[in-house]
Amino acid sequence: VPTPAHRDRVRELLGTGAQLVEVLPAHEYDDEHLPGAVNIPLKRMTPEAVAGLDQGRPIVVYCWDSL
């Protein structure tokens, strides 16, 4: 179960090398996303899709607001 994180905590995590994943559709990601985020739309969240993430570093996922 993901740990809920406030904005301040997210910024701390990013400062220590966390990976950001936006799960919105590609067109929303393309229009605007957080710096450094990669896009893995929720509907395409498969083991293959997340294989490129470094499991040794924290991963922060975000949607528009709550998932």
Binding site: A5, R7, V10, Y29, E32, L34, P35, A37, D65
Partner: protein, 146 residues
């Protein structure tokens, strides 16, 4: 794995940097003045007035220790400068907008209500700046938005 529960909407509302063409539009946070005077409730009007003279706005925002907006002191409040505590005369709960508020419709609403400036805060109520309507109108005029 962490869930940034408040998500992109929260990030934008806090005026933080983003990437992509959608970030190019005029938003309140982008045109807000940031060098504005602040004081805490127990400070005097004399202290607050002294800071306003060196700031980019005629008022002073009353904040707590983590810059959450509590009230505002206008030029007329500060004209009575003295040893009175800012917290005793501040106007409580001034209207605010988030940093990602689109400027054009905001300017229209402000003009309709004869509001010259409005505070910009993040979703936690922390002060980011003040958007002066004249600044926003000038910015929009430069890009043909007015």
């Amino acid at each position: 794995v962490y869930d940034y529960v408040a998500g992109k909407a929260d990030w934008l509302a806090a005026g933080l940097a983003t990437v992509g063409p959608g970030s190019a539009g005029y938003r309140a946070g982008a045109v807000a003045r940031q060098g504005i005077a602040t004081c805490e409730t127990e400070e005097t009007l004399a202290d607050a007035g002294g800071r306003v003279a060196d700031s980019d706005w005629t008022g002073c925002v009353v904040v707590n220790s983590v810059r959450v907006v509590l009230g505002v002191l206008g030029a007329e409040d500060l004209a009575a400068a003295g040893e009175v505590a800012a917290g005793s005369v501040m106007r409580i709960g001034p209207p605010t907008v988030r940093a990602n508020e689109e400027v054009a419709p905001l300017v229209e609403r402000m003009a309709a209500r004869a509001i010259d400036s409005i505070l910009v805060t993040d979703p936690d109520g922390r002060l980011l700046g003040v958007m002066v309507r004249a600044d926003a109108e000038a910015a929009l005029a430069r890009v043909g938005g007015l």
